[in-house]
Structure formats: structure tokens, C-alpha cells
């Protein structure tokens, strides 16, 4: 049974005489009231369509099934996320002399808010964050690197990296102050100690 298709032709078969024949209209209404079962009248009021008792029953069953399916979809997962997560304290950020920086902790208010106003402010903040990220993305530089261990060259090459403002200022200052860390693009997943750098 397609709910949308029921009762589409309700009024097409009605013959209405021209002019304001209120008596005719009243007779039609009274006749409808007398011949249409109460259930159908209620369904028309509720749903805007006329349904038989059997159809109504089927519709109620369909709604109950939908509700059940919905509750199944929303029910919690068998294992909580806490059990699947490896906490920051247990992650490894150093292998031998090579160490990389842990991702920053994001201090944030609980974004699971109930009111539309809170949601709106969250989105606004996200917009600002995106804007700042785009601004930083513009500061891309080609960096040559040499990875040495005990005087032996292990790897050399160059890559495009994003520098923070602090990193850029350190490079442009020309001072020989070593930049301690450099956050490499995400695909590298590591942050190495930066012993010496020079603007090229």
C-alpha cells in the first residue's frame, strides 16, 4: 500500500452543479457522514486521505516497524570508543634519537550542545578555524633536508612544508638559533629535532 497514492482521486468523480446550491452541498456532506465509516473520517482528518480500517492497521504496523529499525540504528555500539582508543600517554613519539611532536591538545567546550544557538556558535568558530588554517596554508615553503646520523648521510631531498609564523620568523631572522621542532606535513607523521637551518 502506498500511502502517498491513497485517496488521490477523491474529488474527481464528484459532480457539482453550478451556482451556490447550498442545499446540494449540505446533502453531499450529510450523505458522506452517513455512508463513510467513522475510522475513515478520522483518517481523513489525520492524514488528509481516506483509509479503510485495514489500511490504517497496516499503516500503524509500518510505523511500528520503522520505529524499531530506527531504535536499532541508534542503539550504542557493543564496544565503547574508550576501549578502542589508544590514549596519548601510551603513544610513542620517539624512536632512538628521532622524536616527533605529539599533536596538540584541543581545548574545546563540549560541542554536543542541545540548543540551536550553541550549534550556531560552534559553526562560527569552525569557520574562523578554517580561515586561520587557510591563511597558514599560504605559508608554504620548499625546504631541503638532510638526515644524518653519526656523520653518515641517511637521506636527503626536498619537500614543500608549511611553516608556522614562529618558524618563518626564526628562518628569516638569520640567527643561528636552532629551531627545535618543525611540524612536517601530516603524511610524514613525525616531527624531528631541527638542529640547523638556514634560509636559502
Amino acid at each position: 500500500m502506498d500511502i502517498a497514492g491513497v485517496g488521490l482521486n477523491l474529488s474527481t468523480s464528484l459532480h457539482r452543479p453550478s451556482g451556490h446550491d447550498w442545499g446540494w452541498l449540505r446533502r453531499q456532506v450529510d450523505q458522506t457522514r452517513l455512508t463513510t465509516p467513522l475510522g475513515a473520517q478520522l483518517s481523513e482528518l489525520l492524514l488528509g486521505v481516506q483509509m479503510e480500517v485495514q489500511d490504517l492497521f497496516e499503516y500503524r504496523v509500518a510505523l511500528a516497524e520503522a520505529l524499531q529499525a530506527l531504535q536499532k540504528l541508534r542503539q550504542p555500539l557493543p564496544e565503547s570508543a574508550d576501549k578502542l582508543l589508544v590514549p596519548r600517554e601510551k603513544r610513542i613519539f620517539q624512536v632512538g634519537p628521532i622524536q616527533w611532536q605529539a599533536p596538540p591538545r584541543i581545548e574545546s567546550v563540549d560541542s554536543f550542545c542541545a540548543t540551536p544557538a550553541q550549534l550556531f556558535h560552534n559553526r562560527k568558530l569552525m569557520g574562523i578555524q578554517r580561515f586561520l588554517a587557510d591563511e597558514q596554508e599560504g605559508m608554504t615553503h620548499r625546504v631541503q633536508f638532510k638526515l644524518q646520523s653519526g656523520g653518515k648521510l641517511l637521506k636527503g631531498g626536498c619537500d614543500q612544508v608549511r611553516l608556522s609564523r614562529h618558524g618563518l620568523e626564526a628562518l628569516q631572522s638569520g640567527e643561528d638559533t636552532p629551531v627545535k621542532t618543525l611540524r612536517l606535513p601530516p603524511r610524514f607523521h613525525r616531527q624531528v629535532d631541527f638542529l640547523r637551518c638556514a634560509a636559502g
Binding site: 500511502i3 509500518a62 540504528l73 570508543a81 603513544r91 560541542s111
Partner: protein, 111 residues
């Protein structure tokens, strides 16, 4: 379902990670639930059915984003993912409310 995203996003903010295999298991479960939903939802629910399926797909999108955020170590994405999952859950919750109200009205009127 939403509890998983809530906890995972909180973990992401705090610098925790989740392995690809664990996320894969969650994805399989989500997909299974969506497929069950597609099979059991009565076809005559029309627009309601579409809303249902879109919301369940939105959960899968949020999971994709979660996987990306964990693999690229970008806790900055946590808020966005949390909002996306929250939106999907709120859609489902509002559908649930509508169905419940509708169902109650029908049973009251027909009794």
C-alpha cells in the same frame, strides 16, 4: 551510536588515536545496520525513508572523517566531526519523535 562519536571525538581532541582495524569494525557494523534498515523499512514511508537513509549515511561520512583525522593526527577536525554526527543523530531523533506522536495519535483516534 552517538556515544561512540562523542567519545572518539573527545579522544581525538586529547591526542589519542584509534587503529584502522578498530575503525574498520565499526564501519562494518554501521554498514550492516544501514543495510538492515534498507531491508526492513517499509517502502511506503516515502520521504521518511529517505530521511532515515540520509541520516545513516551521514554517520558513515562522519566515520570517514574520523578515520582521516586519526590517520593524519589532526585533532582540529574533532569539532567538525562531532557536529556532523550530532546533526545525524538529531535528525534521527526528530524522526523518532514524529513517528511516536503520529503513532500515538492514530492509536488514540482508532481506539
Amino acid at each position: 551510536m552517538i556515544e561512540f562519536f562523542r567519545d572518539a571525538c573527545q579522544g581525538l581532541r586529547e591526542g589519542a588515536i584509534m587503529g584502522a582495524s578498530e575503525l574498520g569494525a565499526v564501519r562494518a557494523l554501521l554498514r550492516e545496520r544501514r543495510q538492515n534498515l534498507e531491508q526492513t523499512l517499509p517502502a511506503n514511508l516515502g520521504k521518511l525513508r529517505q530521511e532515515f537513509l540520509q541520516a545513516s549515511l551521514a554517520f558513515e561520512d562522519a566515520l570517514d572523517a574520523l578515520e582521516l583525522a586519526f590517520s593524519e593526527d589532526t585533532p582540529e577536525m574533532a569539532d567538525w566531526i562531532a557536529i556532523k554526527a550530532q546533526d545525524a543523530d538529531e535528525t534521527l531523533r526528530s524522526i523518532e519523535q514524529t513517528i511516536l506522536q503520529h503513532s500515538t495519535m492514530l492509536s488514540e483516534e482508532s481506539d
